[in-house]
Amino acid sequence: MLSMKNISRVYRTELIETHALRDLSLTVEGGEFVAVTGPSGSGKTTFLNIAGLLETATSGEYLLDGSDVSRLNDNQRSRIRNEKIGFIFQSFNLIPDLNVFDNVDVPLRYRGFGGSERRQRIENALQKVGLAARMHHLPAQLSGGQQQRVAIARALAGDPVFLLADEPTGNLDSLMARQVMDLLEEINRAGTTIVMVTHDPELARRAHRTVHLLDGQLANPDPFSPPADSAPTAVSTVA
């Protein structure tokens, strides 16, 4: 599903070099729910950007869904992001001028789907997150938890290979955070692979496996170990 081997990322200025990731190797199997934890500055965001093809690694190999995506050009990375990766951000990142329907529609537009297919996918995705009745609301008319569920619907609508979640409950109160985590677990149980970056140990415990980053390296001694819990083997969509 996702395999990184000896990934390094170095930021260079005229004066200093910053090693955000150092020879990071990590494999995530299909259907896993992996939490990536670590303190501030440990490289979590850099890992997420590289995993989401928002940045390229300075060196190393990155296989996604069996294909080497380490050396793709910008257009190819855009296409892979659109087709294979679903993003969930801490601050939801909904477009405030667009209603719920149009927000979920954004990645589908770039996919080139026709109008009826887009509508069907959007309605299905919103139904999965329980917001089908709110599709004409603007983000500002929704609670934080509802906004994050819209963002999850947007991530799911294109049937991605895996979801990348960056502190998905960071901006939510505990009740809403629990609801969002319940939803992510439900999605994962239905077969969708999830990689979640978080600094919250409580959330990390709900994942199948936790990998800990420290100074750009895995603190886990055996990053290639199989999932701690048995991941679902059947792949299906959430009912």
Binding site: T45, N49, G52, L54, E55, D74, N75, S78, R79, R81, N82, E83, F87, F89, Q90, S91, N93, I95, D97, L98, V106, P107, R109, Y110, R111, R154, G158, D166
Partner: protein
């Protein structure tokens, strides 16, 4: 995707109405000023009679001094006008379908109604061929009969405005109108006639309005009417009497011929060359034959109706548009940079750089389109201003459909040009930077 981008553009522009208004205003003012000047120049430089401009020829003979050309800087050009004796001789030719010698004069019109004060009128003395030759429309009556040309009869054709002043706009055909001390029978009244440029007499103010009165050319000699307008002389002649002037080598008559095809034109050219040869034998026309037939559009170009001064004004208008565009670039850049987080998000969700580029070009295109629509209104107001400042140009300063379309296209093109750099900048944004900060 175009309509999707159009919808996004509309939403985006509505979100910041003040900034949008500034951008649209910058485009609209720049395009409005530029198109006002362009419309004015276009109107005076365009083909004023497209249906016949390749059949109407001004006729010029080189009767100038044997010692020097008429134009020192353009020696290949024959003088702009003819002598009276040459013009009279040319009227004898039966080769052209129609032909007209002409001279401008000023008369005082004396209305029948004592309550209306006498007023000055500009007259054109010309044969009746003038009217069908230049497609002149009539409201009442028509051109006078040939016999009035032959006998220098007292007959006139009035412009619509003059008929309004003298007869209150009624059908005045057959009535008499007084010009100076003489009475003239009205043969016809012109309908609205707007040739943009007085191409048949660019010597005496190409942007002047159409004359108030038309009279037979023959009355000029018969009644010894002093014309007005440019008169150029080269020969050291004694001119004491009106007859001396008519027989002199001074040039002051404009002459046009309607030559419907190339064969007629060639035949007429030969006839003209034969005429100047015969005059040379009489001791005139000492310069080599340089008899020129010039059609309407070439004539306007040769006479530089749109001259350096007008082009300089146009250049300033274009520079003003450029200045407006530079300001617009700054405004668009500020707007797009403010949208960076949303652009970063769209990139993360799969938009390619080209998608982002296209989306923002549609947005600046929409700004240009709205700016163009407002620019049309400003051009319209600008042309009203031109009419106030230059009343003589009132007939030539109007927007037509073609120019309206061009205004919108220029505005869109200007906005796209202004938008390319800001759009390119936002395409280069790294999406990851903005996703944490939105």
């Amino acid at each position: 995707m175009f309509f999707y981008h159009l919808r996004l553009a509309r939403q985006s522009l509505a979100k910041q109405p003040l900034l949008t208004a500034l951008m649209v205003a910058a485009i609209a003012v720049g395009v409005g000023v530029c198109m006002t000047v362009t419309t004015f120049l276009y109107s005076i430089s365009g083909d004023p009679i497209p249906s016949k401009s390749d059949q109407l020829y001004t006729v010029r003979l080189d009767s100038w001094s044997p010692d020097e050309p008429f134009h020192d800087d353009r020696p290949e050009q024959a003088p702009w006008q003819l002598t009276f004796r040459d013009a009279t001789a040319l009227l004898e030719s039966d080769i052209p379908l129609r032909h007209a010698a002409m001279r401008k004069a000023v008369f005082t019109a004396v209305p029948e109604n004592d309550d209306v004060a006498p007023f000055l009128t500009v007259s054109r003395m010309t044969p009746n061929d003038f009217f069908p030759m230049f497609n002149v429309p009539f409201l009442y009556g028509g051109p006078w009969d040939d016999r009035f040309d032959e006998t220098a009869g007292n007959v006139v054709v009035l412009s619509k405005e003059t008929n309004e002043k003298l007869f209150g706009g009624e059908d005045s055909v057959g009535r008499e109108a007084r010009f100076g001390d003489d009475y003239f029978r009205v043969a016809g009244v012109l309908d609205n006639w707007d040739p943009n440029v007085l191409y048949y007499d660019v010597n005496n103010g190409p942007l002047n309005p159409v004359e108030d009165v038309f009279m037979p050319f023959s009355i000029m000699g018969a009644r010894e009417i002093n014309g007005s307008g440019n008169t150029n002389c080269w020969k050291d002649e004694i001119i004491d009497t009106y007859w001396d002037l008519l027989q002199s080598e001074c040039i002051y008559i404009q002459f046009w011929a309607e030559l419907p095809d190339a064969a007629t034109r060639e035949r007429y050219q030969s006839w003209l060359d034969g005429y100047t040869d015969s005059q040379r034998e009489l001791g005139r026309m000492e310069r080599p034959n340089n008899n020129q037939l010039t059609n309407v559009t070439d004539w306007l170009r040769i006479r530089e109706v749109v001259g350096d001064q007008e082009l300089a004004v146009w250049s300033i208008a274009v520079l003003f548009l450029v200045a407006c565009l530079v300001n617009t670039i700054g405004l668009i850049l500020a707007r797009f940079v403010a949208k960076a987080p949303v652009i970063g998000l769209r990139r993360a969700l799969g938009a390619s750089r080209f998608d982002i580029f296209r989306q923002h070009l549609v947005e600046v295109g929409l700004i240009g389109f709205v700016g163009g629509l407002i620019g049309i209104g400003l051009s319209f107001l600008g042309l009203i201003g031109v009419r106030k400042l230059l009343p003589d140009t009132a007939d030539v300063t109007s927007l037509n459909l073609e120019l309206v379309a061009m205004t919108v296209l220029v505005a869109i093109a200007a906005a796209l040009i202004a938008g390319i750099y800001p759009t390119w900048r936002v395409c280069k944004l790294q999406p990851a930077i903005y996703l944490k900060t939105q």
